[in-house]
Symmetry: C2
Subunit: 370 residues, 2 copies
Amino acid sequence: MLKGGAFKTECHILSIMTDISDFLAEKAKSIDERILKYLPEKFDEKYLEWAFGKARYAYDVKTLQKALSGPIWDFLKRGGKRWRPAMFLLVAEAMGGDIEKMADFVVVPELAHNGSIMVDDIEDMSEMRRGKPCTHNIYGIDVAINAGNLMYFLPFLVFIKNRDSFEKDILIRAYETFSQEMIIIHLGQAMDIWWHKGNDEGLTEERYLQMCAYKTGTLARLSAKLAAILSGGTPEQIEKIGKMAEAIGVGFQIQDDILSASGKEFMEKKGFGDDITEGKRTLIVIHAMKTLEPEDGKRLKEILNMHTRDPKLMQEALDLLKKGGSVEYAREFAKKMVSEAWEEANPVIPDSSAKEKLKSFVDYLITRKI
Amino acid sequence: MLKGGAFKTECHILSIMTDISDFLAEKAKSIDERILKYLPEKFDEKYLEWAFGKARYAYDVKTLQKALSGPIWDFLKRGGKRWRPAMFLLVAEAMGGDIEKMADFVVVPELAHNGSIMVDDIEDMSEMRRGKPCTHNIYGIDVAINAGNLMYFLPFLVFIKNRDSFEKDILIRAYETFSQEMIIIHLGQAMDIWWHKGNDEGLTEERYLQMCAYKTGTLARLSAKLAAILSGGTPEQIEKIGKMAEAIGVGFQIQDDILSASGKEFMEKKGFGDDITEGKRTLIVIHAMKTLEPEDGKRLKEILNMHTRDPKLMQEALDLLKKGGSVEYAREFAKKMVSEAWEEANPVIPDSSAKEKLKSFVDYLITRKI
């Protein structure tokens, strides 16, 4: 009985979780070193000249450091899983890419991702992020917008500095991919913002998923596609691996929503439950609205539109989400989506131990508890 | 006497002003048509698919239009001189570039420029822009940040859609230039913001000019460099033409500061005098601080740090700026800077009527009264 199916699976998942947690922890340090190369904590003339060229007049080194590196590293040091650059490395390895040649590119999705959170937090007027006040609450909205936006553009420096390491076609393809994803992420955000404001008449499950694919899926898709492109992948490989990563990104978001709607520990740690306060239309909410009795649905919408922090009301909303089985629905949906996308990408990725790890990584991301 | 020197010069300037105003007005329409191609006022499935690819799930056309095209066109329609794309076209013509092939690229500096104002206005918490409330005061900070940021990235779509019209080296060079300028503009903004907040201990004229070169000079430099690159210019041509355009951009800013500090009509029209309220450290202010009697300098700083809208105090500050001859100093400085940069670029641009027009354009931008 001890070796029975359920127990074995649980054990297997636990071992995956440990492996991948270790893998992420191990990679995080070298990823941060690459970020430091492009954005050191302490600025000096030498760095500024290397990165941005000789000053025509004179740099104000201290001011630039205080207004850019300061808030950005205050943010980066708060943690984060660095799973997008880790996935970049795994895809590159699985595709037989030259890791040393490509390694600087881990900076691209990670900086862009953190920039997008910093900017998101301003747009949502959030208060806390990773256990500390949001950047705009420490440095002001002006500094936070500007620093966040620099994090969107600084990744291009990686392209410029590694210009000669890649064939021109590959480099152009990489530019196009990063640029296009950075356009698309603003479409996702546009939908999310507009719906938040209560303009959700036209919101359907399909449109919600499109928003996720464009918002949360974007930087995962970017990481994987960039790795596939720089490894010299074929268009078919790039496309399918990108789609798989997008599914992971969306699945990750749905998992966040699920944990936020059910996991007490997660809620406290992340300072969440915010989803209810923000009035977020998650997949769970959309499903609930469709399946709950009209009266319950109306009540749920009412609470979401209150933008309340009253724990009693928040609990009432959470109970309604569970009542219609919507949390369970979202969980199954995410699993199915990711496993289908994996099945599609599977044949185009050559077998290797890196591929095995990539698969574990996929499992980890959508079964994680925190 | 009627044909005497001063009168002739005045006449000459007037005729330049009329010519160039006509030129700008004539170009504005075709520039806007190009922008409409990449960002139509009315979205439909066809446009969205062309620009961003087929939706994996489903587009919410109306929401995207309302949250992106709506606020962006509300802003673009308020006017603006469109002088950056006009300069792009003049440089391209002077360099013998294939205008039809390059024409879509007018979108690049114009969208980025308007995006940067929209974002600037949020960062400065400005109230009015071009006679109407700022975008964030109409649509909310969230929509405004996101729309402004899209205007930074949408220009990349021009690169993607015109991929096959240029040699790979040229295309890569163009990507690098746009990316680098978009990084640099955030450095300029970082300095400006930080100093505004009263942290101006290290502020010198040299550093101020660096900020201008990075903030105001950037999109002018980008316009000219992009035109030179896409016309197949040599590195020397690209560099010198870029430097000339940067000087124009900086000169344009100094001219704005001068008009704001002296022209009543300009102040009313632009809703300015804001420079005093914002506590802006302009070239004029920096010069005044250095040359005024200590007591006067102290008083000027005091008023600038008040962020006041009291007309009496604002007038007092304006009087102090004039007292030390600082407005005159800035005027001379800008003229000298632009004419030196022109002299440097002059030998690398082949003679043509387009070059003549470019020269008139330079004169116009720094002698304009509004």
